[in-house]
């Protein structure tokens, strides 16, 4: 289903809130892995599997390696949902 970036960001925020404790009032397109202490290797897996389930997409290994900030995730999702 085609979604614009604003819609993707909105849905993504819910997934981030479900994954991380400290996200509630700080989520933005500028957020990166370094901004969230809880964003370690285990929560990265949980975040990506939740995004895949939520958006009905699948990422390859190269994409997963680069998905370290919200803007990249939004761009990737936008491409996949075209």
């Amino acid at each position: 289903m085609k979604q614009d970036k604003a819609e993707i960001l909105e849905q993504l925020e819910l997934i981030f809130q479900d994954t991380f404790t400290e996200i509630n009032h700080t989520f933005s397109i500028d957020m990166a892995r370094d901004d969230i202490e809880e964003w370690d290797s285990l929560s990265h897996i949980r975040l990506l599997t939740a995004i895949e389930a939520g958006f009905g997409v699948q990422f390859d290994l190269d994409e997963i390696t680069n998905m370290n900030n919200v803007a990249t995730i939004v761009d990737l999702l936008s491409e996949k949902l075209q």
Binding site: T19, F20, T21, E22, D34, E37, E38, S41, L42, S43, I45, R46, L48, T49, F59, D60, L61, I64
Partner: protein, 484 residues
């Protein structure tokens, strides 16, 4: 509605051993502090299902009436270490729908979603504890081995232990539901993935009002995801069905064997070294010992808890004609002068100091005093005491000695995290500069080493570190031999 704190708990090592008896999950990650120090958390952690049952115990103490689970879903987001103060929060939308959150130092460790009914206790399970007296060992599977795997096994049920561990859950929750939850941890920790596992989450639905509860539980691997080394398992019992997700944990890092290092070290490169290697039973210390022995030197490695690891290294080196000894030494309680333990007919010429706690981030954004103190205890207090022990021997105070202490490349390449670790290493560098002035006969080396592949740097699907042996051989060959 908002989250409400409903209680707290702590689980110690002894309790985890009781939980292992109650569940049949004896994975060393939970019950063997010596093996677990080589896993990614650096110590034992509590069973995830133990956390769930502790939280349910607190919830049921507050509810004070029998309930039955219709469904339970849980995510294990962070490990809970033994002794951690775990706060339990509840978010209740209706009586039947509850969410529990376990939090350690303000960080989410588990999220549990419950659907409850007011059904009674249901059918009892006859005591069933098919666990042998000796500690059962988990299976050792690789990711590929698990594909398509399935098995049926008998649930463990020990009402006396359940009464001790979770009295309110024992009183108010149907026995078979607790037994099924215990079965889930046994699947992951002992059967699939087994030894190298991390329990990630569960989602189970219960049949209401079953007339009888079987002890048989079945599981089969239904999905696998090689990108994350993750598998999904279907689980069925006559009272429940659902799925669990588990990850394959990286195995402890194995350094190169002695015979492999012999091939890269010139034969007598380190022939004049009687080297005391503090923290030599694994990681950089292990590699250093093998390199020195391969170069004709005589390493004496110290261990604190890893006697088996140290003995394995000594055996590896000696079996190929090298010299090596091992002695016990605790840098945090240096009650004896370790140099006396290994002197015999040779004097120590080199000291290598690799003792380290788990290199972890602080809990706070900028500074965590407790974490900094932990690093200082190892890198400064422990090191300082060792040097004082040597200096108390007047001969050592006068002779030449080379002391090698690793620093970190992070001092040249500031990181966004690990403030306390980096600050402690900077303090070590300052101390070494002082000692260089104070002890003119002694030579101190404190190279800023890069990140290398050791237990400290192994992570889930992370392998970007440099080869330890290559880096250390470069560092060792740059040392002058004090006996020359």
């Amino acid at each position: 509605m908002s989250w409400k704190n409903i209680g707290a708990f702590q689980v110690d090592q002894a309790t985890s051993c009781q939980f292992a008896q109650a569940s049949g999950d004896f994975n060393p990650l939970h019950v063997d502090p010596i093996l677990a120090r080589r896993y990614q958390y650096g110590s034992t952690v509590i069973h995830g299902v133990c956390g769930i049952l502790k939280a349910l115990d607190i919830l049921l103490m507050n509810l004070d009436r029998p309930v039955s689970l219709t469904a339970i879903k849980a995510h294990f987001t962070r490990p809970i270490l033994h002794g951690d103060h775990v706060e339990v929060f509840s978010y209740q939308s209706t009586w039947h729908d509850q969410k529990l959150r376990l939090s350690v130092h303000g960080r989410r460790a588990q999220d549990i979603t419950l659907v409850l009914t007011e059904n009674g206790k249901g059918p009892e399970i006859t005591k069933n504890a098919p666990i042998s007296a000796s500690k059962p060992q988990p299976v050792v599977l690789g990711f590929e081995d698990a594909l398509g795997m399935e098995s049926t096994f008998d649930l463990v049920w020990n009402p006396e232990l359940m009464q001790i561990l979770f009295p309110h859950a024992k009183q108010f929750l149907p026995d078979y539901q607790a037994a099924v939850l215990l079965g889930l941890t046994r699947i992951v920790g002992m059967k699939c993935p087994g030894l190298h596992s991390v329990f990630a989450g569960l989602n189970v639905h219960f049949v209401q009002n079953p007339s009888v509860s079987d002890v048989k539980m079945h599981f089969n691997v239904t999905k696998n995801d090689s990108r994350f080394s993750m598998i999904t398992l279907g689980v069925t019992h006559n009272t429940a069905n659902g799925e669990i997700t588990a990850l394959f944990r990286p195995k402890p890092v194995s350094q190169e064997k002695y015979i492999e290092l012999q091939a890269i070290v010139p034969k007598n490169q380190f022939a004049n070294q009687k080297a005391l290697i503090i923290g030599g039973s694994r990681g950089i210390g292990e590699v250093t010992a093998k390199l020195i022995a391969a170069g004709g030197g005589h390493p004496v490695i110290t261990y604190y808890r890893g006697k088996d690891d140290a003995d394995r290294i000594v055996s590896d080196i000696r079996s190929h004609g090298g010299k090596c000894d091992a002695v016990s030494y605790d840098v945090l309680s240096p009650s004896k002068t370790v140099n006396m333990d290994c002197s015999a007919d040779e004097r120590v010429t080199h000291i290598y100091y690799f003792a380290s706690p788990l290199i972890e981030k602080g809990e706070h954004l900028v500074w965590d005093d407790a974490v900094f103190q932990k690093f200082c205890n190892y890198y400064l207090s422990g090191f300082g005491q060792l040097i004082e022990n040597f200096l108390s021997d007047s001969l050592y105070a006068k002779q030449k000695m080379t002391v090698f202490v690793p620093s970190t490349i992070f001092l040249d390449q500031p990181q966004k995290e690990f403030n306390e670790y980096i600050a402690a290493k900077a303090a070590v560098e300052a101390l070494i500069r002082q000692l260089t002035v104070k002890l003119p006969n002694w030579k101190f080396m404190i190279p800023r080493l890069p990140r290398m592949l050791t237990d400290q740097t192994s992570g889930v699907n992370i392998d970007s570190s440099q080869k330890t042996a290559e880096v250390m051989l470069d560092a060792l060959t740059s040392l002058d031999n004090p006996s020359d």
